[in-house]
């Protein structure tokens, strides 16, 4: 049997996606959700995600795994934003944008609790429990050692537990 020849998928997508358009269609919302949780603001999340897509687009021919590149860009973009803002700024901005009354009641305490975490704790928690990244990748994204990630998560969970349980 062997065959082998002509065995490439009939509609072999470039880089796993049917072009940039395909990647955009498949990943825009997941990335928006991730970024929204990371920065707390859908408006800023949108900017970060748009930037990340444009970065992927510019490098489309050379990037081997555009989805992974995109995710990294989003995480880095959000981390960069957070580095430059105080918690109060972020908290205030997010509230101006989306009032608590605009989200389901049962999510308000979670939102407040996440907002009150330090940026690094929040990143660690979101990346672990929402993005499902392993600690070593979270460490890479935050520029810390994996052990630090575990400690960040531990402290974040303790803080969240106080607020939520």
């Amino acid at each position: 049997m062997g065959d082998g020849s002509g065995s490439e998928p009939a509609r072999a997508p470039v880089n796993g996606y049917d072009g940039f358009e395909g990647l955009f269609a498949a990943k825009r919302v997941p990335m928006l959700r991730l970024a929204t949780l990371l920065v707390g603001s859908p408006a800023i999340a949108e900017e970060v995600v748009q930037d990340a897509f444009s970065a992927v687009n510019e490098r489309w021919e050379t990037v081997e795994r555009p989805a992974a590149y995109l995710k990294t860009s989003v995480v880095n973009g959000c981390a960069g934003i957070l580095r430059r803002r105080t918690i109060e700024q972020r908290y205030r901005a997010a509230r101006v944008e989306v009032a608590d009354s605009d989200i389901p009641e049962q999510l308000i305490d979670l939102r407040s609790a996440l907002d009150r975490l330090s940026d690094r704790q929040r990143l660690a928690v979101v990346l672990r429990y929402f993005a499902d990244l392993p600690d070593d990748q979270i460490a890479e994204a935050l520029g810390v050692r994996p052990a630090t990630v575990r400690s960040l998560v531990h402290r974040a969970l303790a803080a969240l537990r106080k607020e939520l349980e």
């Binding site: 825009r28 928006l32 444009s54 687009n57 934003i81 389901p104």
Partner: protein
């Protein structure tokens, strides 16, 4: 996992959606929020420059070159595509765009005034308090009068956000496409018309009552009681025309889209966040959101009106089409010519010409405005797609296919084995290499190339990862590794089976070991001697050497409640388990936490082998035929003619290895059969 951790996993996606959703409801994104950041992050080289300008300043869109145009088109519409990463679809209500809501149904209904036409429907005693509808004007078709193919009654076919529903000739409704909220699960009933909303659907029954299904977070599926002449489903609201000509709406009313004016209507069409109705005198009245002018109907007479995401189109008595509202994608620029139907979608519009051909205009990001040639009897535009009824009454759709990742498009050539994941498929070639197709977002379709001369002898696919047994009986895994599922244990295995996010393998001493996600103990293998093992969604089961079954992991759905008996093989699905008895019959057990799709109701007869997917299962018959059961959703259980030598079920697709060693796959797609009376 602690309850807090569980809550984080469960509620963080909901919170993200709620925040995005709330923002999407805002008239104009409050982009900068008054703060200014301009900076370039410089970390790993991979970084992106971030600069968020203050509100009034237009973003840097212009910077994006031509290639990004697509992004612009889509973003301009403010829509967020639902994205299914292959994982289970959670809520994605993001946007408000209604897209599709193709009001068509109704619109279609236009021509014939509801009362009357409906009257034709069964019995509705409710004597029209006033022959309101009566006066209805000219039907588009009537006007144009071109005898080609007469368009179908309105409401025969109606596209919603990412799904479409059609009334079959026997009066049942079939829906296909995105089923994130049960919007394609039409109840069994006798229908007259159907209307697809953004994430829900409504249908008019022959007894004049209305029934809705799917998303109900805004009450849009809580249909009012009483009799209706027509019904329309919008983004988050629904409306119907009573037999007295009055309009009644339910669901979200934040934009006053559910606050219909007094007076009589002959038909109504619910759009994104606005609603338009046709008065008996042929004038159109709209209410609700008007930020794009979508509720400012022009003067003059119409015979049909269709409210889209942020625009509205109407059919004039002379067959011309007039559109108003958002025109960012050209969706309101109706071409010249005579039409008999018009359907406003999310960001595009489709019209049925009096010669039976279909023309679409507006956003074509995903091909939704690229209508195929030939003649149609009806057309309906969804958010990014459109469907039409051909003259032979079959349905043809074009544009955005909500979830075609190519997982059901196998390459040519021969295979020795095949494995189906959530959105990808891999096949083992006879030269011991592996080829994968479909979703590769996590690298699950990038098998190792075997630089060291290694080859593979078996394979199994999980949600977003793949594992294979090398010819030296060690295991290799690739793809998503967040739960450790693609980091296999060392040493040799006789066999390996990939679950959603964990895997189990049988060692040569017949013990079982598992790795990967262990949230429910699914990776804590029972002790004992096993002949084979099956890894499911959150549980695992092993076939003991004496034919008994031992399971471990999540017990929540009864998937571990193994019936008595001696088994020949076992298959674990996402929430359920199936076992093949030694006499060839099949038993399945376990219920998913939401909705029963019949995946545990195994058919009679004997099987040689079985496979369990997300919501459906298949078995290989003794004659090589394949029988599938469970959730069909437009095709996943419709196996083609055999003979097959093996079959594997994924989330949305199924693949079989034919007797000639080629692979055939089938998946949810547009349905077969006839629609319309």
């Amino acid at each position: 996992m602690s309850t807090l951790e569980e809550r984080l996993r469960r509620d963080m996606p909901r919170l993200a959606d709620a925040l995005l959703d709330a923002r999407a409801r805002e008239p104009e994104g409050i982009a900068g929020i008054g703060e200014r950041f301009t900076e370039s992050t410089a970390d790993d080289g991979l970084l992106v420059d971030i600069s968020i300008d203050e509100p009034g300043e237009k973003k840097r869109w212009p910077v994006l070159a031509a290639a990004a145009a697509i992004v612009l088109v889509v973003v301009a519409g403010a829509l967020l595509l639902d994205a299914f990463d292959g994982t289970e679809v959670t809520t994605l209500n993001l946007v408000a765009d209604e897209s599709g809501t193709s009001t068509d149904p109704d619109d279609a209904a236009v021509p014939q005034a509801p009362p009357e036409s409906e009257a034709s429907v069964p019995e509705v005693d409710s004597g029209p308090q006033e022959p309101s509808g009566t006066a209805i004007p000219q039907t588009g078709a009537a006007v144009t009068g071109v005898p080609v193919p007469a368009p179908l009654e309105p409401g025969v076919l109606s596209s919603g956000g990412e799904h479409t529903c059609g009334v079959r000739s026997d009066g049942t409704v079939e829906c296909w496409g995105l089923n994130s909220h049960g919007q394609t699960e039409a109840p069994e009933a006798a229908f007259v018309t159907v209307s697809g909303g953004r994430l829900h659907s409504c249908g008019l029954l022959t007894d004049g009552t209305v029934i809705c299904w799917g998303d109900n977070r805004y009450g849009q599926s809580d249909a009012l009681t009483g009799e209706f002449a027509s019904v329309t489903a919008g983004d988050r609201h629904s409306c119907g025309v009573r037999f007295d000509g009055s309009v009644a709406c339910w669901g979200e009313n934040r934009s006053r889209q559910a606050a219909g004016p007094d007076g009589q209507f002959s038909l109504v069409s619910a759009g994104g966040f606005h609603t338009c109705g046709l008065r008996p005198d042929g004038s159109v009245a709209c209410w609700g959101d008007n930020d794009s002018g979508q509720a400012e109907a022009p003067d003059g007479q119409f015979s049909l009106v269709s409210a889209g995401g942020f625009h509205t189109c109407g059919l004039r008595p002379d067959g011309s089409v007039a559109c108003w509202g958002d025109n960012d994608s050209g969706q309101a620029e109706a071409p010249d010519g005579q039409f008999s139907l018009v359907s406003a979608g999310g960001f595009h519009t489709c019209g049925l010409r009096t010669d039976g051909t279909v023309t679409c205009w507006g956003d074509n990001s995903f091909g939704g405005a690229r209508a195929p040639g030939g003649q149609f009897l009806a057309v309906t535009a969804g958010r990014f797609h459109a469907c039409g009824v051909r003259v032979d009454r079959t349905v043809e759709c074009w544009g955005w296919d909500w979830r075609d990742l190519g997982e059901a498009d196998p390459p040519s050539g021969q295979f020795a084995a095949v494995a189906a994941g959530a959105g990808h498929t891999c096949g083992l070639r006879s030269d011991n290499t592996i080829a994968c197709w479909g979703d590769n977002a996590n690298g699950q379709s990038d098998p190792p190339r075997g630089d060291l001369g290694e080859g593979f002898s078996a394979l199994s696919a999980g949600d977003a990862h793949t594992c294979a047994l090398r010819t030296d009986n060690t295991v290799a895994c690739w793809g998503e590794g967040g739960e450790g599922q693609s980091y296999p244990l060392d040493g040799q295995f006789k066999s390996v089976d990939a679950g959603s996010n964990h895997n189990c393998g049988v060692r040569f001493d017949s013990t079982v070991e598992c790795w990967g996600n262990n949230s429910d103990g699914q990776a804590d293998a029972s002790e004992g001697l096993f002949a084979s093992v099956a890894a499911g969604g959150f549980h695992s089961c092993g076939l003991q050497v004496d034919g008994g079954v031992a399971c471990w992991g999540s017990t929540g759905s009864g998937q571990l409640d193994t019936p008595e008996g001696v088994f020949r093989s076992i298959a674990a699905g996402r929430w359920h388990t199936c076992g093949l008895h030694t006499d060839g019959t099949v038993s399945c057990w376990g219920d998913r936490p939401y909705g029963d799709y019949g995946e545990t109701g195994a058919p009679d007869g004997q099987f040689l082998d079985i496979t369990a997917g997300d919501t459906h299962n298949c078995g290989l018959r003794v004659d090589g035929g394949v029988a599938c059961w469970g959730y069909d959703d437009g095709g996943r259980t419709r196996a083609p003619q055999g003979p097959f030598t093996s079959v594997v079920a994924g989330d949305f697709h199924t693949c079989g290895l034919r007797a000639d060693s080629t692979v055939a796959c089938w998946r949810a797609t547009e349905p077969e059969g006839r629609f319309g009376p």
